[in-house]
């Protein structure tokens, strides 16, 4: 069976419920044609329609004076002043990366970049937030190496630097790794383009790669539908990324914008041509006549359904006026990419698709998006939640601090991540002021005083232990990660990676998480300008941890002339701990997981008032402190060790209570200051000690030579990955 010979009742195989099928018949006033059914089944799939999450995403705050484009378009856009705008977005490519890690991650990068230059922006940076099963399993090592080289292979070659990211490990990701990629672009206000197709008689021009059979239905339930197997093992829905084609596509599109040749533009993603044509028409309140014979196909004998649904990479659909068509085609030729006018904008809102002079689809363009179902799925608090909270870590009277620190520095999620980020070009464009390896990365905008800081943060375990608190904590952590560079939290994108939404427990986790994240964003005054939801991250009925990831954009103007870095601590510098301290916040901590082998309990809550004050003060201190480092995984001890290793200097701090070294209560920053003046009285500040010597010295509690700490920390990933 192929898409084109689907029996009308094949909707079940395409993952459509009977109710959804009836809705289609209702809309069309007749049973759908095969191609039409395929289009609805993909466009109404969870992936494309957000039918299970939409009802809850409304909870996020999305407004602020500097928001130019909020959620809904391909990317969020914020105003940086002086005509500068930043467009950014985050996307997941979890399932494809499990099937084929290199290509899955590579095409993930390609896809998120298209979301950015679709807006008229030049993509200038990428971040990757990735999660795998434990590295003692060869399969997980294979997945990590494959994903990292895929991101490197595509990102480096397409010419967009990868400025940072994060990585975590847990059993629940063993059969379901998470690969979330965030991209950011810069543009001048007048370059902003939207996807709406307007102007009767305007042409829809398909730009970029030819259309092949690869990836048909890859993004949707179709991938698992039987026609996929029937169409032969020869056609896996794996897609091969071509960064060279995308690079040419980027340059061509940017020149099209510069010359004012596009009315609207839309990237091709899930459901390929059918999605791009219907969405641009719908967004413009128009219709479109599409001629599939004009599409440049890679393989002979492709059926209309295959051409419509193909998810071949590196393609864009531009709406141009008939007068400009020739100039557009000429420009495409200059950049050595294919271009073909495949459609005409019409009034009346109908999408008509023809092939061989035969009508294969005729439907209301808006119905594919606007009429998609919305579900208010059942939610219920998991029965296991209370036991989980009750089973929290038992803290011993005393611990071997030095040995605990050794074990934590050797953890792949806490050790040196340069094995990963040194495979990424993170310097291209000469904007990178604080490179990966610190907290948030900081980039300048040449020709201005402006700086942008970004941090991606997630915390699967804590969100599993308490979705609301966990969701709030990752937002607060991301805020501090950008604040230490001098930037103030400005806007957020989020990627919600969850299990099966048909399970009430998963929906509960989702709603709680959103509540926690939304609350933190409100307290920080940052709008959510875009995001992505990835459901069905489950294997054999076991769901992953609820794993939201935030991409926090921070903004500073002017940027600190010498922003803090971990490697700038020197002999005699005084080290302070800023922010409220709770010595007993161990649930979900690295210490509990690594040293006590405990992954239960209830994490501490956030404190909006104190948290906001710490973020504010941190961003101010960034203009004079040589080092600022937020206290994250591993607590105070690891934060100090990271500074000592980077700066190659020892430190002496006296804390009587060992728990203060490893507790992970939020809203804390280690501040290194040249003088011993109390930083400020707006937040609690404790003078911890002074840098000097070559030992990380916790007095009574123990000590560890910097050299030893450094070699353990540096070897954490290489010794596992070779």
């Amino acid at each position: 069976m192929t898409i084109d010979t689907l029996a009308p009742d094949a909707h079940r195989q395409l993952g459509m419920t009977d109710e959804e099928y009836d809705a289609v018949v209702e809309i069309l006033g007749r049973p759908p044609r095969p191609a039409e059914l395929a289009m609805y089944s993909v466009m109404w799939s969870e992936h494309c329609s957000y039918k299970s999450s939409r009802a809850h995403l409304g909870r996020f705050p999305t407004e602020a004076p500097w928001v130019v484009v909020g959620p809904g378009e391909n990317a969020g856009v914020v105003d940086l002043g002086d005509g500068w705008l930043a467009a950014f977005r985050i996307e997941s490519h979890n399932h494809p990366s499990f099937v084929e890690p290199y290509q899955g991650a590579a095409t993930g990068v390609g896809g998120i970049l298209r979301d950015i230059f679709t807006m008229g922006a030049r993509p200038v940076a990428v971040w990757d937030a990735i999660r795998f099963g434990p590295l003692d399993d060869a399969k997980n090592r294979y997945l990590l190496s494959g994903v990292v080289s895929g991101i490197a292979g595509y990102g480096n070659a397409v010419g967009v630097p990868t400025l940072g990211g994060e990585v975590e490990f847990a059993d629940c990701y063993s059969h379901n790794p998470l690969v979330n990629v965030m991209a950011l672009g810069l543009l001048q206000r007048e370059q902003l383009v939207l996807s709406a197709a307007s102007g009767e008689g305007n042409m829809a021009v398909l730009l970029g790669a030819s259309t092949g059979r690869d990836g048909i239905g890859g993004a949707s339930i179709l991938a698992s539908a039987s026609f996929d197997d029937a169409s032969g093992a020869k056609r896996p829905s794996v897609q091969i990324g071509d960064p060279f084609e995308e690079k040419k596509l980027i340059e061509a599109c940017l020149e099209l914008y510069e010359r004012g040749l596009v009315v609207g533009i839309q990237d091709l993603g899930a459901a390929g041509i059918s999605c791009a044509t219907s969405e641009s028409a719908a967004n413009g309140g128009m219709g479109m006549d599409v001629d599939l014979d004009a599409v440049h196909v890679r393989e002979p004998g492709m059926t209309p359904g295959e051409i419509l649904m193909s998810e071949s990479q590196e393609r864009m659909l531009a709406i141009v006026t008939p007068e400009d068509l020739d100039e557009v085609l000429a420009l495409a030729e200059k950049w050595e990419i294919d271009a073909a006018a495949i459609g005409t904008v019409t009034t009346g809102g109908t999408l008509r698709v023809e092939h061989d002079a035969e009508l294969v689809a005729e439907l209301p363009a808006v119905s594919l998006s606007e009429d998609a179902p919305r579900y208010h799925r059942a939610q219920s608090r998991p029965a296991w939640q209370d036991e989980l909270w009750a089973a929290g870590p038992e803290l011993p009277e005393t611990v071997d601090v030095a040995d605990s620190l050794r074990r934590m520095l050797d953890d792949p999620a806490l050790g040196d991540r340069s094995w990963i980020f040194e495979q990424y070009d993170h310097m291209l464009f000469l904007n990178t002021v604080v490179e990966p390896g610190h907290d948030g990365s900081l980039m300048r905008i040449k020709g201005t005083e402006k700086g942008l800081a970004v941090s991606t943060d997630g915390d699967g375990l804590r969100c599993y232990l308490d979705p609301m608190r966990g969701g709030a904590r990752i937002v607060w952590e991301a805020a501090l990660n950008v604040a230490v560079t001098g930037a103030r939290p400005y806007a957020v994108v989020d990627n919600l990676n969850f299990g099966n939404p048909e399970k009430p427990e998963v929906m509960w986790q989702l709603v709680e998480t959103i509540e926690g994240m939304a609350g933190a964003c409100e307290a920080l005054g940052v709008p959510v300008v875009g995001g992505n939801v990835s459901f069905y991250n489950e294997t054999d009925g076991v769901d992953i941890y609820p794993t939201p990831v935030v991409g926090m954009l921070g903004f500073c103007d002017p940027m600190p002339s010498r922003p803090p870095r971990l490697d700038r601590a020197t002999d005699g510098d005084v080290v302070w701990l800023l922010g409220p301290e709770d010595p007993e916040d161990f649930a979900g901590s690295a210490f509990a997981r690594i040293v006590l082998g405990n992954t239960s309990g209830r994490p501490g809550d956030v404190d909006a008032v104190a948290g906001a004050a710490v973020v504010r003060l941190t961003a101010v201190l960034a203009y004079r402190a040589p080092v600022l480092h937020d206290v994250g995984a591993g607590g105070l001890a690891v934060a100090l060790a990271e500074i000592c290793i980077a700066s190659d200097v020892g430190v002496h701090v006296d804390v009587a209570d060992w728990r203060r070294l490893f507790s992970e209560s939020p809203h804390r920053v280690v501040a290194v200051l040249p003088d011993s003046a109390v930083p400020d009285d707006s937040v609690p500040a404790v003078r911890l000690g002074v840098f000097g010597g070559d030992v990380i010295d916790f007095g009574e509690l123990g000590s560890l030579p910097v050299a030893e700490a450094a070699s353990i920390w540096r070897d954490a990933l290489p010794r596992r990955l070779g």
Binding site: N156, F244, L430, T432
Partner: protein, 232 residues
């Protein structure tokens, strides 16, 4: 007359090179790979990136771009011609520089600052530096592993090596060889010294805010070379 920075499809460091030369007060212009007239050019930079996606072999397809005939003419006339990273690979493929570049020893892309020792000042890239200088400059490549057949290598060693990977004190040693390059070679020049290539990116080390300014002396050499070229 301005300096031509050649743009192949897939190049991506061209704007950075123009920015860096501009920071040194030198004019440069982007030139598309299909242009066949460089008569206005006083020197040429082949920038880094992934010309033609690095498909087939890095630099292999680019060397046949229409513009390369002009680049060869300028090179033989003694005009300064440098290749950075991918540009270096193109010059080797074109036979304007000896040797070739293959995959890094560990089969991983490497993006990080590394140290270089200046081996010779008889090249358009190093004339303003001093032998023995140790420079910190970012490397950014997957195929940065310099190889040459025995005979060629001997000649290169004799008069073609301009930069080697080294340690903090300038020590040249396997431990400081990031990618397995023969004899730790990071940069070479032709006999006349007017054509030179290197894997690291001097344009990424021209401002302290970016971590290092050590790349300046190399680009300043190039600019000086343009003002008074080495006779061919």
């Amino acid at each position: 007359m301005t300096t031509a920075v050649v743009v192949f499809p897939g190049s991506n460091c061209e704007h950075d090179v123009v920015y860096a030369l501009d920071a040194l007060g030198h004019d440069a212009e982007l030139v598309w790979h299909r242009d066949i007239d460089l008569s206005g050019a006083d020197g040429v930079v082949l920038p880094g990136g992934f010309a033609h996606g690095d498909y087939l072999r890095t630099g292999a397809i680019a060397r046949f771009s229409p513009v390369m005939a002009e680049v060869e003419r300028l090179a033989t006339e003694g005009r300064p011609v440098i290749g950075i990273c991918n540009g270096f690979q193109v010059l080797c493929e074109a036979g304007l520089l000896p040797g070739a570049l293959v995959a890094n020893r560990d089969l991983r892309f490497i993006c990080r600052p590394i140290r270089l020792r200046v081996e010779s000042t008889d090249s358009v890239l190093t004339r303003s530096a001093a032998v023995g200088d140790v420079l910190t400059i970012p490397l950014n490549s997957y195929e940065g592993n310099y190889v040459a057949p025995a005979g060629t290598l001997a000649e290169v060693e004799d008069h073609g090596v301009i930069l080697r990977y080294c340690g903090p004190a300038g020590e040249v040693d396997a431990a400081f060889n990031p990618n397995g390059s023969m004899d730790s070679i990071a940069g070479v020049c032709n006999d006349a010294g007017n054509v030179a290539g290197l894997m690291p990116h001097p344009e990424r080390a021209i401002e302290d805010v970016l971590g290092s300014s050590d790349g300046r002396v190399l680009l300043e050499s190039f600019v000086a070379g343009i003002r008074n070229p080495v006779p061919a």
